[in-house]
Symmetry: C2
Subunit: 509 residues, 2 copies
């Protein structure tokens, strides 16, 4: 691992740095002061950026939560790791509680690999890679878990649908809305404080144990229903969503200060990013901002997939750096392995790349970004150019119901309400001149021809070598819901599942 | 004046600080890295912000160039100082070269007033307050001028329309495209370098003379046709517009360093802002970015009137400050008077307020922002609330010709193509939760009722006490164009005007 010669003090006993991924839920590129949010209410994250490195061109692998998280933990595109559907073309699928599938045993997750280098691995927050027993995070490399397998939707009636459980390690310790309250009227919930304390405690314990740690802090206060603790409610100029962001900002500040106080900040690599773009369908009360970018969550426009991103590692990452390296959440897999001195698996295609040369030495690594929606490569970015092979916001049918992924935005022929194919003549944008994807380049221009020649070759190679994984998000069954998670007996919270009735999941988007 | 006790070193001989206004043309809120421009190519302006104070809620007085500039220099709304039209309702008017009117002798301009405190005043760049002899800037308080009376449109044929002259002080020294080249094919022009050198020289001379100066640096490289010097062409990820911004950024850096080198940075108040929102009609090649805001230049949506703004005064303004003070270009009039130890004129309504308590002590001063289009108050902001009394982007007729002030944006009932009256039930937005003006508050909500009660009272008071000035932008005449500006004889550049034929100017927007 790089830069270990600089490690001094109590942390010097570690051979490898700790890894802390702060992974947000539905937070958009434009939600941080450092990224131009006009209320500028994120002093701690802005300071993290000024002490570390800001990534302006960092992407998720999919504009929806489960596939994004599966991609981060496997270093592979969802179409490879199985987090997609073939029920319909180009649909976003995720892991609701009636999903039958989940992360396959054949996938190698980051914590499984890090164990080989002596890491203790903890996930705090949302897992979202399947909630049935075989998909449990402690069966996939994590040593500890505090959080839930699915989104905090609810409250449910425990008849047609059970409330989502919250786990500590192997067993549930309660359910949302019953034991872990969220007041949907006021937006009050103290969950971020709980997640914060879990993180501080874990860090303290690991520091004491002298083992390196991998902490995946996957909190969800900015996912609808958005929530904040009482002391943050009403404190933001941005309403409830802003209250949640402020509490997260405050928590990140406390975590970084905790690292400093323990003397391990120079031995802990921290990365902050989000799973997908802001959910504009929940705006303005419960959705964030994608800044100047087009549309949001669920779409393969920039607003759906470009993420806020900050790397922080005092003494290693130059303070105040800004990088235009094209990055991906999948790179966090490769970066983490590199930090741990491990080689990535050689028996499978890894889509992530090791960005440490970009982070530590400011090098720019040439690489494409692929924008997928389910089983379809919708778009690709190469340098400043982005080519849309398919466009779709959502169907007219959904749009007429009021579901709008691009509120207030409408770019003719781009934010289409039918799934439009452009494979013969992709729509091409120059994201430097036109970050908002409003002005497709002329097909007849030299610039179009030059850029597409390069892009076409990369896309062809990508498609020829693509071996899709077994799709995990095709089958839904009410019987697999969180009726009787392990530990439910002790709590008297076991519920009786209905008869199994597997069906094709319906993914409308 | 405040803070003079802190002035030390060579500058201590001055009784009052120098004032330097860096006033951009058509630059948008979202064009600076510090404001979230995704290519982040403004290191000098970002550093200026980190050493000074960033204003996130700073506005122009009108979404078009001439009225904005007239407002800055008079501290008064265009409807008071005459920079508006009554030819049609709610139209944006400016000062093209066939305009008959200009700044009235009865208006008191900032440089006229500053003279009383011993300031030497220079304008570098675009005047735009009328080009006929009586409107000459040296007749309105400036001691020196290098620049042009109108926009750098052209090239013209010198028959139907003469090329715009460039003046040094009282006389023209050439014309655009003839003596001051702009290559419309490549975008090359060295004008920003010339304006930079003018600024550096003036500052050096004034420093030597030991007199305080007011320098109004009103450059125009980001107004279409956008231009940059050869060494900046092709250097931006943002295309030609970005090249122009980079050159401006570089120039601002050189000006600030020059102040530091001369030892007068602690005795020079510097403010950077722009005349109106980015001209989205010129995007993507020659238009900038309004970040997450709605629409652009010519509109009274946030994209048309919220401006990037930075105050810089080392040793006086706390470094790295961020202010949510509602500010206006008209406040620069009042701030400057305050810095000079002068009282604002008491015989007329001044709309600007002295923001020094906000800038120096971080105090927030309660005040409304009025959004005018020509002779109509279109909207008002009070705290986080903005009420639209009228909405209009542009007419269907213009829109169908391809003139679009909101490309890619369309908010139903808000970005209207007919001039819509809402005076009985204004459209109300909460700009904290909804900076993009996409979600009008429900008329029936308590929040609406509460906010409108306060706003209505302010608006009523504003309207009752409003005394409009004589409109200066009603009459156009080809005979008044820049045919034979003073000094043309020496250059052999006098042209013969056509017969006078005054007409009502046509203002389509």
């Amino acid at each position: 691992p790089l830069g270990l010669c600089w490690v001094l003090g109590p942390a010097a006993a570690f051979a490898v740095p700790n890894i802390l991924l702060l992974f947000m839920d539905d937070m958009g590129w434009g939600d941080l002061g450092a990224f131009g949010e006009p209320s500028k209410e994120t002093p701690n994250l802005d300071q993290m950026a000024s002490e570390g490195m800001l990534f302006l061109d960092f992407y998720t692998a999919n504009p929806l939560c489960s596939p994004s998280r599966a991609a981060l933990l496997t270093g592979r595109l969802p179409v490879r790791n199985g987090f997609y559907t073939t029920n319909a073309h180009a649909r976003n699928a995720y892991a609701p509680q009636d999903i039958v599938g989940g992360i396959s045993d054949s996938e190698l997750l980051l914590p499984e690999l890090l164990k080989k280098a002596g890491y203790v691995n903890k996930i705090i927050g949302k897992w979202h890679l399947g909630h049935r027993p075989q998909f449990h995070p402690l069966k996939h490399g994590f040593d500890e878990w505090f959080g839930s397998p699915n989104c905090h939707f609810g409250p449910f009636d425990n008849r047609a649908q059970p409330n989502i459980p919250v786990y500590r390690d192997w067993e549930m310790i309660g359910r949302y809305y019953e034991d872990f309250k969220i007041d949907l009227k006021t937006g009050e919930a103290n969950l971020t404080q709980i997640y914060l304390q879990e993180a501080l405690d874990f860090i303290s314990n690991q520091q004491a144990s002298q083992q390196p740690f991998f902490l995946y802090w996957a909190i969800d206060a900015t996912h609808a229903p958005v929530y904040a603790s009482k002391q943050f409610l009403g404190t933001s100029q941005r309403g409830l969503y802003g209250d949640a962001v402020r509490e997260i900002d405050d928590s990140v500040g406390k975590i970084l200060k905790h690292l400093e106080k323990l003397g391990i900040s120079e031995n802990t690599f921290v990365f902050f990013t989000s799973d997908n773009g802001a959910a504009l369908i929940s705006a303005p009360q419960e959705g964030g901002s994608n800044g100047p970018f087009l549309c949001g969550k669920q779409t393969t426009f920039e607003g759906g997939m470009r993420e806020p991103a900050i790397a922080w590692w005092p003494g290693h990452i130059p303070a105040g750096g800004v990088s235009h390296q094209l990055g991906s959440v999948m790179d966090l897999f490769s970066i983490s392995l590199s930090l741990a001195g491990l080689q990535p698996p050689s028996d499978r295609q890894i889509d992530g790349i090791d960005l440490l040369p970009a982070i530590l030495q400011g090098k720019l690594i040439d690489r494409p970004i692929f924008y997928y929606r389910g089983n379809e490569m919708m778009a690709v970015r190469v340098g400043p150019y982005k080519a849309h092979y398919w466009t779709w916001s959502n169907s007219w049918e959904e749009y007429k119901k009021g579901i709008n992924f691009c509120p207030g935005q409408n770019v003719s022929g781009v934010t289409t309400h039918t799934l439009e194919e452009h494979t013969n003549l992709p729509l091409l944008f120059h994201l430097g001149r036109d970050p908002g994807e409003k002005y497709p380049l002329s097909f007849a221009s030299d610039e179009y021809q030059r850029a597409m020649a390069q892009i076409s070759a990369l896309v062809q190679q990508h498609k020829v070598t693509m071996v899709p994984g077994v799709p995990q998000l095709n089958v839904c069954d009410s019987a697999v819901m969180n009726w009787s998670p392990p530990g439910c007996e002790k709590l008297g919270k076991c519920l009786k599942p209905p008869k199994s009735d597997p069906k094709k999941c319906i993914w409308p988007h």
